[in-house]
């Protein structure tokens, strides 16, 4: 379940990134993201999807882990990991 939380956070950050002009340019260097950019709706809506995905991941963590405080710590840890993954991925796109 934690893996699912992590994936949702990853997708949420991806949406938030693609909604930002500066990073959308970088995303153009990736073939996959280029297609994703074509499909994605206008920026505010993409942002909204990003935030909804983050909220969903939190909801999932809270409902799937019995002890709430531990669920929150899990969520914060995976959030950092997702953010780092996205940052490193987008940085790698700067080169290509």
């Amino acid at each position: 379940m934690i893996t699912l939380v992590f994936i949702l956070q990853l997708l949420g950050f991806l949406c938030l990134m693609l909604a930002m002009k500066k990073h959308a340019k970088q995303a153009g260097n990736s073939r996959v993201l280029k297609h994703v950019l074509r499909v994605l709706p206008f920026s505010p809506f993409t942002k909204l999807i990003g935030w909804i995905l983050q909220a969903t991941s939190l909801y999932l963590a809270l409902t799937s882990i019995e002890i709430t405080s531990i669920a929150i710590v899990w969520w914060c840890c995976t959030l950092s990991a997702a953010l780092l993954t996205i940052a490193v991925y987008f940085s790698s796109l700067l080169d290509t």
Partner: protein, 536 residues
């Protein structure tokens, strides 16, 4: 005073980092290793193999052992093993003397345990700086407060961090370092705030003694007494007789009669309904052994709570009747315990523990890059005092690469010092500090700091591979046994050292490439200047 508030914040951020950076790195690095304190201890003690016995059988054996060997003791304590520590021991107290016996998986008592500080060395260094009684905890507390300040001033310094956030420019090392510092800073904001704040809270009363002394009779102890609930003291009067308990043990004739075994089976049945996780008991204490009103306290494992105080249940020892137990903790005590628990992360399952470890390493990288940025920026400035610059530049090598070297040396010392050498635990510690001091000498001796960085990283990498080699050659039987028993805790140290070795080698290689490219640029400039002179 600087012209603007932002400039003042930048100044504060910079100098807090430069002045306390080395200390903070040492605290963060050893703290990060401390996430694996019991695992490190287990790795450093070959006799600590995993224990696969059920809790019930371990409790039965512990009580029968204590009854035989510690019948006259006032208190018994049984520490049951967790997957992390694999330490199963019994302890008893007679007057002021305490005795401890450790057992292995085959119910045999372990003789001649390896003398080592184990993971506790890193943990104690983390908050005492090996200066307990000499102000070490105060220094660590000041460092934590400075770190908090540095975090907040850092947030103010990098105003555009959400815009700049996802940019790591790998082609230019200086820019990459600045980008990475910002990225690590943002990623670790919640983690660093939690760690520093909880670290301060653990010793809050020690840091603010005046309030405690002014309002409580015995100062710090008085506060603890007031906020931490305890059980009423036992009035031991009447000894238990054969008919008072449900589990009878054959009794010998006077003068010595071993006390009966507590009614643990009945108690275990009762707690099965309340604590449903596997292996829920961490510790059992019996107070007033052999007396009618003796009580037994069962402490739950910390896997189910963020707090560092797990649930405790109290029963009558020989009837198994539940007693009132501890009162609920006061709110201040609960806050302190939760912060303490968050800091230690004893609740964290292995996946979360690795994530926290990763965040700790990122925190270390944040501090290290901050200090490196200061040096690279000051190198450009003609105003900078060359002595200060050299001091910080070479001090960075000793504080960062030197500490990594010293830590790996600690592990190697443990593996190579003979089992029977007296004072081997202290020898391990001495090795750590000697290597650290030598790394400082090396850093200051080398004219070019970049070469010192390269050499120390390369040496640390070689030591990591050497640790694996020692393990494979000298501890082959342990590896085979661990593979047969699927002892993942011990086995995971081998890949961990291999990966650390590869990362350190990669860092040394990068620095080496940079040194040679800088030399090429220098040579080219000199040649073109020489050619120009010739043409003139």
């Amino acid at each position: 005073m600087k012209a603007t508030f932002r400039k003042s914040m930048i100044w504060l951020h910079t100098y807090l980092g430069v002045i306390l950076g080395w200390l903070l790195f040492a605290i963060f690095f050893t703290g990060t290793l401390s996430y694996f304190t019991p695992e490190i201890t287990r790795y450093l003690m070959p006799e600590r193999a995993s224990i696969s016995q059920s809790q019930q059988s371990m409790i039965a054996h512990s009580f029968s052992y204590l009854s035989k060997h510690a019948g006259e003791a006032e208190q018994w304590r049984i520490a049951l093993p967790s997957e992390r520590s694999a330490r199963w021991s019994v302890q008893w107290r007679e007057g002021k003397q305490r005795q401890t016996v450790t057992f292995d998986d085959k119910f045999a008592s372990v003789e001649n345990e390896t003398e080592t500080k184990g993971g506790l060395f890193f943990r104690n260094f983390h908050y005492t700086l090996q200066l307990r009684g000499y102000g070490g905890r105060y220094i660590a507390g000041i460092a934590a407060m400075a770190m908090l300040l540095a975090i907040f001033t850092g947030i103010y310094t990098h105003r555009r961090f959400f815009k700049d956030f996802f940019t790591l420019r790998p082609q230019k090392l200086k820019k990459w370092t600045t980008d990475f510092h910002a990225l690590a800073g943002i990623l670790t904001i919640p983690f660093c705030i939690m760690i520093c704040l909880s670290g301060i809270f653990i010793y809050a009363i020690m840091y603010l003694p005046y309030t405690a002394n002014a309002n409580f009779e015995r100062g710090e102890r008085g506060v603890n007494r007031q906020i931490i609930p305890s059980l009423p003291s036992l009035q031991l009067e009447e000894k238990v007789t054969g008919n008072d308990h449900s589990v009878n043990v054959p009794r010998s004739t006077p003068p010595f009669t071993p006390p009966p075994v507590p009614n643990y089976a009945h108690i275990l049945e009762k707690i099965d309904d309340q604590w449903r996780e596997p292996n829920p008991i961490a510790r059992i204490t019996v107070e007033g052994v052999g007396y009618k009103n003796s009580r037994i306290i069962l402490e739950r494992s910390k896997a189910t709570t963020v707090s560092n105080r797990a649930d405790r249940l109290v029963f009558e020892t020989y009837t198994g009747k539940p007693l009132k137990g501890y009162d609920d903790e006061t709110v201040p005590a609960q806050i302190r315990r939760i912060l303490y628990g968050l800091h230690q992360a004893n609740f964290a399952p292995i996946g979360m523990r690795w994530l926290l470890f990763g965040l700790g390493i990122l925190g270390c990288a944040l501090i290290a890059t901050g200090n490196i940025i200061w040096v690279t920026q000051r190198k450009k400035s003609a105003k900078q005092n060359p002595f200060t610059l050299a001091l910080v530049e070479k001090g960075n090598v000793a504080a960062i690469a030197g500490l990594i070297l010293a830590s790996v040396s600690f592990f190697i010392a443990n593996k190579l010092i003979g089992h029977d050498v007296t004072g081997r635990a202290q020898l391990e510690v001495n090795t750590f500090f000697t290597v650290w001091a030598l790394s400082a000498v090396h850093a200051f001796w080398r004219a070019n700091a970049a070469i010192a960085w390269k050499e120390q990283f390369a040496f640390a990498s070689a030591l990591c591979f050497f640790t694996v080699a020692i393990e494979l050659v000298l501890f082959r039987d342990r590896i085979i046994n661990s593979m047969l028993n699927v002892d993942s805790v011990y086995l995971s140290f081998i890949p961990a050292f291999l990966i650390s070795g590869v990362i350190l080698y990669w860092a040394a290689k990068k620095i080496s490439l940079r040194i040679s490219s800088e030399q090429n640029v220098k040579e080219n400039t000199e040649t073109s200047a020489f050619v120009k002179k010739g043409q003139q």
